[in-house]
């Protein structure tokens, strides 16, 4: 019965001994949470720690087959223990707003966003259409979406990623609920957009809204949260005020998450804890047996004035890559950083000669590469390996890990011999040979990416083209993959063309950095110098937007 926005001074969310289980398997075990108005509590954890399920169970959306129990569960001062689906429908939107990770699929593509945002108003209030429209415009203005009157009639497909996320937030806050649940609200976004969304959430918090933020990335959380709860295996292992928790992490899990943040960590430092001794030993022996070619000849990849156009609807041609030149020295890492749409992936495809440039050329070891026919190129294909962002889709869905690696090895060799080789490759990427008979769908994201790296190494390449190899991974998993790539580079003398949108990752892995913006390289230089003293305004903007942990005091 209380008017919207009537947040009393009590906590807007209180949960005691919250547990969730799926068919007898418990996923969340006895979690206590409290969020006060104008406060942000962040739940941080690795994938599988139960953080998303926790958030969803707070709004009665834990999913079919979930058994949710709690000693106490209060939203906006009302107990929701034992609520029916009907009660939940009343509470959602009014007492709590929810922002899901993927704005692309969270908005109905066929409805104008004005209607999407107006839904909660239509369902929970008796406002007139004109009044509703005014409130929708208000909501859009408060999330900083310009031209709200135009946007209101557009569909989600007509908006950019950042605009879409803003529209989604607008729909969550249209009724001014006292609590906002944000599940990885910036994970799919570019850094500059991410910074804008975090700013927006900060201003909502200042306006008195309580926010429960779910994330795997401590650096993102540090910008917004007042308190942090670290979730591991469904239990809160540590909780405390943000500064204190970041400065003096007590739990092992917190320390691991902190160490995994790559930003500001010098090249070559480990981001993940050392593996168990057995694993290190096996990896070392694998490396010892790694057949290094008799003094492998250094291989250089060179791009000269690459241009690639794409045809868009209406026959217009727009340049995706516009005059890009770079040299990848043997054994070094060239980091290519840019936001979505900057042409990064096209550069990767050009380097791999999967598409031919409209102008300019790619040269391998001073010899023609992009101008050759595929048949001429094939003998030298083994010099170049590739690791993709979505490892899963890069594997033939019918094949097991053994089949995938076997294909990458010389297929004419006998089966047992290939199996031995496959085991050796798995050792190289620190995977047990037990995964040989598994299909990649049953592997975790990190394991998949390791299999992808193993496959890329099968032909003993000198260069790896890594296109966003870690951006689909949690920060802690990302840390282990980055450490692996670093070790492989040192042991095998590989050169990396490392493409990423994440400045922190680029800074950590690169010797040289090139900043790509609208298909052009706007700045290039030695990594350290470029990050210390960025010259181009775009680089500065990127750098300012990158989330980072606060400098430890003292």
């Amino acid at each position: 019965m209380s008017a919207p926005g009537d947040a009393s001074s009590g906590p807007v969310l209180r949960a005691a001994d919250l547990s969730v289980s799926f068919g007898g398997r418990s996923v969340v075990r006895g979690v206590d949470l409290e969020v006060r108005p104008g406060e942000c509590l962040a739940i941080v954890g690795e994938s599988g720690s139960g953080k998303s399920v926790t958030a969803r169970s707070l709004i009665g959306l834990a999913g079919p087959g979930a058994a949710v129990t709690a000693a106490e569960l209060e939203l906006a001062g009302r107990s929701v223990v034992g609520s029916s689906e009907r009660d939940w429908r009343g509470a959602r939107g009014r007492d709590v707003g929810f922002i899901a990770q993927d704005a692309l699929v969270s908005l109905d593509p066929l409805r104008p966003i004005g209607r999407e945002i107006g839904d909660s108003l239509r369902l929970h209030t008796r406002l007139s259409p004109a009044e509703r429209r005014r409130r929708v415009l208000d909501a859009l203005a408060s999330v900083g979406l310009p031209d709200a009157a135009v946007r209101i009639g557009q569909r989600s497909g007509e908006l950019s990623g950042g605009q879409r996320q803003r529209a989604l937030i607008a729909s969550a806050i249209a009724l001014r609920p006292p609590l906002l649940l944000a599940d990885e609200p910036t994970t799919a976004l570019d850094v500059t957009v991410q910074a804008q969304v975090l700013d927006l959430l900060t201003s909502l918090k200042a306006g008195g809204m309580g926010i429960l933020l779910i994330s795997h990335d401590l650096a993102v959380v540090a910008q917004l949260a007042d308190r942090i709860a670290v979730l591991e295996d469904g239990r809160i292992v540590e909780t405390g005020p943000t500064e204190q928790l970041l400065a003096e992490p007590k739990a092992e899990g917190t320390r691991r998450l902190l160490a995994a943040v790559p930003f500001g960590r010098p090249r070559g430092t480990r981001l993940s804890p050392d593996g168990p001794p057995t694993r290190v030993a096996s990896a070392a022996s694998g490396a010892a047996r790694a057949p290094t070619r008799s003094a492998p000849s250094p291989v250089t990849l060179e791009a000269v004035g690459l241009v690639k156009h794409f045809r868009v609807a209406g026959g217009r041609r727009i340049p995706a890559v516009d005059g890009v030149s770079f040299t990848l020295e043997p054994g070094r890492t060239l980091g290519l950083v840019g936001e979505s749409g900057s042409g990064k992936s096209t550069v990767a495809r050009l380097a791999l000669a999967l598409t031919s440039p409209d102008a300019g050329e790619v040269r391998l070891n001073g010899q023609a590469w992009s101008t050759l026919s595929e048949r001429q190129r094939r003998p030298n294909r083994s010099l170049l390996g590739a690791v993709y962002q979505d490892a899963l889709s890069s594997f033939d869905p019918r094949l097991t890990v053994e089949g995938i690696l076997g294909d990458a090895l010389r297929p004419r060799e006998p089966r047992e011999r290939r199996r031995e080789e496959a085991v050796r490759l798995l050792e190289l990427v620190e995977l047990s040979s037990a995964v040989l008979g598994t299909r990649p769908v049953h592997l975790s994201g990190g394991q998949r990416q390791r299999v992808a790296i193993a496959r890329a190494l099968a032909a003993e390449p000198r260069i790896l083209i890594c296109d966003e190899p870690v951006s689909a991974l949690d920060v802690s998993v990302q840390a282990t993959v980055l450490d692996l790539l670093d070790r492989l580079q040192r042991e095998l003398g590989l050169a990396y063309l490392f493409i990423s949108h994440d400045l922190g990752v680029i800074q950590h892995v690169s010797d040289t950095v090139a900043v790509l913006h609208d298909g052009r390289i706007v700045e290039t230089g030695a990594a350290e110098a470029l990050f210390r003293n960025p010259e181009h305004p775009y680089t500065r903007r990127l750098l300012a937007a990158a989330p980072r942990l606060p400098e430890p005091a003292g």
Partner: protein, 286 residues
């Protein structure tokens, strides 16, 4: 390995995957019925020792009883024996027609998908012409030219389903050809032929298996329809569609003459569909 699986999938996902993999009661029933039909097709004498063609005018129009499970027809022939012995013909037509349709469709689809722009253009126009005519009409047209019979029915049903399969194969082939894993094979230096053999064709054709299971049921219904119209199997031979037609005249007095063959047509088609769908769901959830 199971501990690993659990870790990989989100909790809700894990539950869903397991649900998809488990066969439901419907699928078991469908499987049992099809097993019966297949057994009838290969060893009819074992299930129904009576001669399906033996005339016994004294016992004409007997209703279903313990002695005559499905009753007898106007000449006193056992409907049960005829239904059982007819399974072979129906199943053969269904499987052969589907195989023909799938084979032809696959050939056309692969040709269009790999043959380059001009071949693709030509095949597509041909398919559009075939699509413009309803499938059954195409089958009738063929029978008018060649004359009725089991072989003609098979050919007619097979040919008229081919364009649909061809479309699906072509679309699937184009998708697989541009799939990231095909590209990954290129990057590894895998040659064109090996890519085709190892990745493109298997991934194009695997979904067809499920489609084929669906198709057999459909083909049996079509073939029965043609026989019902007197254009398929010729009368004394025990074919479900023909039996349905023969019973039509006596529907008010001897319902069992039409109902049992009809029931077998429907149940076979439904069972094929249930299994095909389950198959499809399983290959997709992988």
């Amino acid at each position: 390995m199971s501990a690993l699986d659990v870790r990989a999938a989100a909790p809700t996902g894990a539950v869903r995957v397991r649900r998809a993999a488990r066969a439901g009661a419907g699928e078991w029933l469908a499987l049992a019925f099809l097993a019966f039909v297949v057994l009838a097709a290969v060893a009819a004498g074992l299930l129904a020792p009576a001669d399906p063609l033996a005339i016994d005018p004294a016992n004409a129009f007997d209703p279903p009883s313990l002695a005559q499970l499905f009753g007898t027809d106007e000449s006193g022939r056992s409907i049960f024996a005829r239904v059982v012995h007819g399974a072979g013909t129906s199943l053969l037509i269904g499987v052969a027609a589907t195989a023909l349709g799938l084979g032809l469709g696959t050939a056309l689809g692969v040709l269009a998908g790999l043959g380059g722009r001009f071949v693709d253009f030509g095949v597509n126009r041909l398919l559009e012409v075939l699509f413009a005519l309803p499938g059954l009409l195409l089958a009738l047209f063929l029978i008018v030219i060649v004359g009725p019979g089991t072989l003609t029915t098979t050919l007619a049903v097979g040919l008229s389903t081919a364009p649909g399969y061809a479309r699906i194969v072509r679309a699937q082939l184009l998708t697989v050809r541009a799939a990231p894993y095909t590209e990954a094979a290129t990057v590894l230096g895998v040659g064109w032929w090996r890519k085709l053999r190892r990745h493109i064709l298997p991934n194009t054709l695997a979904p067809l298996l499920a489609l084929g299971t669906l198709g057999v049921g459909q083909a049996i219904v079509w073939a029965s329809a043609l026989s019902y119209l007197g254009l398929g199997a010729v009368p004394p031979s025990p074919e479900w569609g023909a039996m349905l037609a023969a019973g039509r005249t006596y529907l008010s007095t001897a319902w069992w003459m039409s109902v049992f063959p009809g029931l077998f047509i429907v149940l076979t088609a439904v069972s094929g569909t249930v299994l095909g769908r389950g198959f499809q769901r399983r290959t997709r959830s992988r």
